[in-house]
Amino acid sequence: MKIVIIGNGMTSYKFCEKMVAKAAPGSVELVVFGEEPRPAYDRVHLSAFFSGKSAQELEMAPADWYAQNDITLHLGDPVQQIDRAQQTVHSHKGITETYDCLVLATGSAAFVPPIPGVDKKGVFIYRTIEDLELMRDYAPKAVTGAVIGGGLLGLEAAKALLDLGLRHTHVIEFAPRLMPRQIDDNGSALLRSKLSSLGLQVHTSMQTTEILGDTSITGLQFADDSTLPADMLVISAGIQPRDELARLCGLETGHRGGIIVNDQLQTTDPNIYAIGECALYNGMIYGLVAPGYEMAEVAASHMLGAHKAFTGFDMSTKLKLIGVDVASFGNPFTPADQCRSIVFEDTLKGIYKRINITPDGQHLLGGILIGDADDYNMLLQTAKNKVVLPPNPEDVLLGARGGKEAGGAGVLGLPDEAIICSCENVSKAAICTAVTDGNETLDAVKKCTKAATCCGGCAPMVKDLITSTMKSQGKYIRNVICEHFSYSRQELYDLVKIKELRSFDAVLDHYGHGEGCEVCKPVVASILASLWNDMILTKGNDTAQDSNDRYLANIQKGGTYSVVPRVPGGEITPRQLMVIAQVAEKYNLYTKITGGQRIDMFGAHVSDLPLIWEELVAAGFESGHAYGKALRTVKSCVGSTWCRFGLHDSVSFAIQIEQRYRGLRAPHKLKSAVSGCIRECAEAQSKDFGIIATEKGWNLYVCGNGGSKPQHALLLAGDVDNDTCIRYIDRFLMFYIKTADPLTRTATWLNKLDGGIEYLRNVVVNDSLGIAAQLETEMQFLVDNYKCEWKEVVDNPELRKRFSHFINAPEEKDPTIKFEHLREQKKAAEWK
């Protein structure tokens, strides 16, 4: 059987995947035509493109997946005509293919209302990677953004504009409330006030009549004669099913678009199927990915002779809009005479929850959650599976009060057939079986069952199921450090703190066994340093340090060391430069400017290190901690003192920050930068914490990373003053130090953190855990306890003695060290 698929979007890919899995090898030939230039990608996470995901990372599968599965893929080649009599399709590039079955998976296009001026420069739609690329290129020219459409996609587009750096963004909605299809008036009002606190102005009941400007947009004109200035606009006023091919070949379509299909997803020609957002089932277009996947499943099964039917799909959704949870499930709009509603509202915290239950109080019908949607999956499953509600139904919203467990709640209370992952249609039983079969991590379960691989919304429930299934088997899961310590880093940190242990041996005696090793020793040493900030080379702890920390220098090829004095903010005087030059010449060191705006001197013999540092310390230099998992540099641009664009003095702030956190030891190294304006010359958004001047203060970004896996930092707080910025950094760094796994950079830590940046923002900015004051005190303790460790070594003859190569010939250098000549300097001899 030969199947031709038109469109290579999300459901097309899913259809191929299902066919490959279901059909006997060689029995089906698949040919796919895609109009877009790249293979199907994850449109649901399209916005991740702006937070640094590449187009390639978004792909559902790489192009060679299709080749490996013998699927012919024609990209950038839309089908232009279907000949139903001949059973052929003709493409733009002139390819003709015959088919036994044809699948239309053409999706939809953004609906653009016929407002005069939509063709002006600066007007965009939000559907494909190309759309986003155009927006990204235009955004630097724009200051004020607007979005037409206050639905799910419109709000997502508005967030994208904020992410692109447009400080003022407006959302214009025709209906009297936001997300009219998902939430009620009260929910909308709450969402609106939350959004406005994040810099998004919402205008409801507004009809746009014209887009103003000559060739480029300058503003919007509304029916009530008011106007709004805007230099960039995204139109997100709904979707328009791509049914043009179907109409052209005489298939029946709906008045408002969409290809009419039956329960098997067949169009009015039984050899032609339509799936995804182009299909009109029972008068309805399903604008979500999960129903599209279900359609792919039903159509694929039907072609292979199995009997499955599509009977409609639950349109429950949960999403995070600009950091605000919004969810609606079941039927949130049951008329008041057919249900009882329970409403909980906390305007202070910005939480609104409403559930509709049957008049007899037995079952849950649907509801709306705003501000806190943690219970979404549970509630959805409770509604879908008709789980009987506890005697006080409000317990499902508020949790049981008075010490009793909420009856019927919890994943374990769900029946085996409850669907946990609705995107991939995976039941609770399937997940539990996978766990019993030995798939004991989220990744393993994802691989084995595909649960949580699509929208990811069910991941917390899947994790709960893994834990509870393992517990029921008597297993306990923990991320232990190594064979010597059966604790996670976070657990050990807490224990060491409570017991006030101060040496590696003490920690080993209390909580470990054996002698330790190169894995746990540095972890414990780092915990001790992060807790007490004692001199790291104190007897007993010296040998627990990683080798570089033990010599306060980085070992280089050949066994010599490099020397990096701290140059806070990258600011250095001519006199200091001369000292560095003298020292480098005297000890014959190779010099190079580092990426962190300081000077690295290479090729120092271990026994010369104290001598070199003696001279540097005398000239006022301090250790740069280039050898430690510690704060490295706070890079700065020149800022307002010289630069004509500078808004604030970025150098002074960088120096202040670098001096505050110098010597701070952490699970991994920390880098920072401060830029004096949005042009971002200091590249602050690639740092663990980066600061960019705004007109009103500073924007604080966190968890960026250069290196092998670059990742842009995310905005933690906007327009804060110096003191607030430092307080937030204190909290952020201490929270990271306390909770990260060993050798985990902040970016990876954030990626693993449940709830991501929103959770982190809640902890750091809103103090949701109530620990902010404690974090600040702990940081202040470390700051107050800072001492330059090189100065301590230089002044302490006992410590200096450790810096020799031969214990029994301290004055001799390692005779095996060799250098080669390179461009008037030296380099380490090549190793074999």
Binding site: E483, H484, F504, D505, G514, E515, G516, C517, E518, C520, K521, P522, K539, G540, D542, T543, A544, D546, S547, N548, R550, Y551, I555, K557, G558, G559, R802, H805, F806, I807, N808, A809, E812, D814, P815, T816, I817, W831, K832
Partner: protein, 127 residues
């Protein structure tokens, strides 16, 4: 450390006990050769190996971190963290890597002696 043929061992004085940091190592010069000496005070044990890491031929093992793997004493090279057993010198993290030469150590009063078999140190320990 027990050796079957003590007769051919030459002991040389390396350093004082207090010169070697607890749970760490130092490098000892013997004629033109370099030997790494390690002290495990928690077990009351001493070990010595060649100082040269066979991986990239770096004189570095004395600066490595010591520890145990399932009770077996070991050292990890500071360059690429390859681990070697201090009992027989074999590489624990890479079977294909060459082994280290190991030497007996004895303590008399507060003095540490390292034993060299026959005429001298194995080729592997030489510069």
């Amino acid at each position: 450390m027990s050796l079957s043929n003590t007769a051919t061992i030459t002991w040389f004085y390396a350093c004082k006990v207090e010169d070697v940091p607890a749970n760490g190592g130092v490098c000892v010069k013997y004629r033109d050769e370099q030997i790494a000496l390690y002290h495990f005070p928690r077990r009351g044990e001493w070990y010595a190996t060649q100082n040269l890491c066979p991986h990239r031929r770096q004189m570095a093992l004395s600066r490595g971190m010591t520890g145990t793997q399932e009770g077996e004493p070991k050292v990890a090279c500071p360059f690429h963290k390859k681990s070697f057993s201090l009992l027989d010198g074999r590489c624990l993290s890479d079977e294909t890597e060459c082994s280290l030469s190991v030497y007996p150590v004895k303590i008399e009063e507060d003095r540490v002696y390292i034993g060299i078999t026959g005429g001298g140190v194995h080729a592997g320990a030489m510069a």
